[in-house]
Symmetry: C2
Subunit: 341 residues, 2 copies
Amino acid sequence: MNASIRDVAERAGVSVGTVSNVLNRPDTVSESTRDRVLAAIEALGFVRNESARHLRAGRSRTIGLVVLDIANPFFTDVARGVEEVANAQGLSVILCNTDDEPDKQAAHLDSLAEQRVQGVLITPTAEPSPQLESLRRRGVPVVLVDRQAPDIGQCSVAVDDHLGGRLAGEHLLEHGHRRITFIGGSSGLPQIQERLDGVSAAFRAVCGSDDGLTVISPESLTVAGGLEAAARIVGIPAARRPTAAVCANDLMALGVLQGMVRHGVRVPDDFAIVGYDDIDFAAAAAVPLTSVRKPRLELGRRATELLLAEARGDGHRHEQQVFGPMLVVRESSMVRRDPTA
Amino acid sequence: MNASIRDVAERAGVSVGTVSNVLNRPDTVSESTRDRVLAAIEALGFVRNESARHLRAGRSRTIGLVVLDIANPFFTDVARGVEEVANAQGLSVILCNTDDEPDKQAAHLDSLAEQRVQGVLITPTAEPSPQLESLRRRGVPVVLVDRQAPDIGQCSVAVDDHLGGRLAGEHLLEHGHRRITFIGGSSGLPQIQERLDGVSAAFRAVCGSDDGLTVISPESLTVAGGLEAAARIVGIPAARRPTAAVCANDLMALGVLQGMVRHGVRVPDDFAIVGYDDIDFAAAAAVPLTSVRKPRLELGRRATELLLAEARGDGHRHEQQVFGPMLVVRESSMVRRDPTA
DNA sequence: GCACAGCTGTGAAACGTTTCAGCGACTGCT
DNA sequence: AGCAGTCGCTGAAACGTTTCACAGCTGTGC
């Protein structure tokens, strides 16, 4: 059905090798021959077959990007950065969504391995993944995104989550909050543990202990998870109820905000909220959200550059890149309260 | 570097054909042979090579999804629906983002053609695309998403945008608004023209003419576009200034909302806003957004089903599926005003 | 004892490229 | 005239699968 290079060769009256040369090394072919071949290509509507091409070449012109939640704008922004760099190199990106489920992640990684992608960018689920290990053993470059590599044997691009947590914690403590809850998923992602540790460190520095810090672990790291957390918080007797929350991402923060408003709790007057990621929607929320900003596009770009460098080989050294976060203060945490109250 | 089927055959002491049979028709192989082959696969860490596989098969196990804006949650929700159905069939999805730029779209379509995808789901840019035409001529199934096919020669999955526009318009007219502006991009997408026509029809039905309807066309269909529109609106002298806006999508509506608040215009008291798509963030906005809801996941699912049916062949008839929209009223349009004011 | 069927397994062709050794024709130099 | 070098092109091998005709073998029914 589809014209092949052989059909083109026949029509142009040349060998298949020459057609290939027209396609890949046009300067080695005389102008008249080239024109004839190009005319044949045009006439037959010939389109290269990538599978054949990269069967021969041994690897494809494709990279995989595996994210925890495609509906989280943080990841679509990262994806934009990835696409930008990859497309500039003529590479396609296969975007895979895992919803933080190890099974889905495993299936996607298997598929990427079969497709012989040049490399994989991934924000992995908490559980160690045999598929990911086997990819690395096989020599496929893997770069961790938004998560620091546990050893120096691989590249990663992350944000200093401990610092991010600390900034959020200090900010709330400075505003007089002494009962703070940290809202993160129950999946045990290390980057979230780091954020919690950061908040705890701030607590200990200011109060001597982190007794005032509690943790809520909703099912999922989404708006729904935030709503769930809000319901739990309002269920706590007022005397022991936290006066502020640090959320592990903005999606949950938006959920908490919605939930609080729904329960008649005023934000920030009765309850302060700090989010994480500073997605664009944080600023547009019912109460504009204080959030810890991460360089999302830059994360994607840099991760891709590292991946491509590793794929290229030539003396690549693994790099663990860590960006600095930045606290963006908005209305959701703006009221100062008396710590003795 | 990677073990091939030949290595496996050698190690297991069988022919390559037998290995292939173990992989694809396990029941035609005796148990003892099968076990030996599986052991060899395990030992060598053999992974099938998709390129080779589908070079032989003639087509890949991949479909393309081409969207206008990956950062728009509407499209990520559609993508979820697509992935769900595709993955269930063992197909991978290549997600491509065009940012409504014909050049990017063309590049993506070329790449998808080279990869011999089984089909393409696309929300195309306004300009007719030669690449898209050539795909169709080549016999590659193409399903239009969120846009009705202009002829019966192809499948499409859309929402009745004329009705959606009419619902939005009627709602504002009922609330007493008589100067309404429609905010849509300057790209001339037909689905947006339909929405505008719907508003206009509502106007003519209620007022006899649509003189009160104006149009603003910001650069892009994003939050930034909405901000741009808001700036233009507040620049209009109060006597002629519209009292309400229908936005072609929620992203712009959120931008308009932000812009209005920034300029000290109260929503909905001084200015009412209706969005389109009803993305999850619409309900969480500073002022919860009235919006026209579309069945996003269902759109993606149905489009994929149609695509796969067409790819399968067996007497497929093209279908133009049209879903009904639904107006979800929230605070951003809730104030009733006196039409004579 | 023979024809036949059923079961396992083999080996080679085919898919559409890229790559590379090599061939003929020409050019320019000695 | 002889030779080396260059240019443009050819033809075949190779990439890793799947598929298919068919070869051995065993057992069965007559």
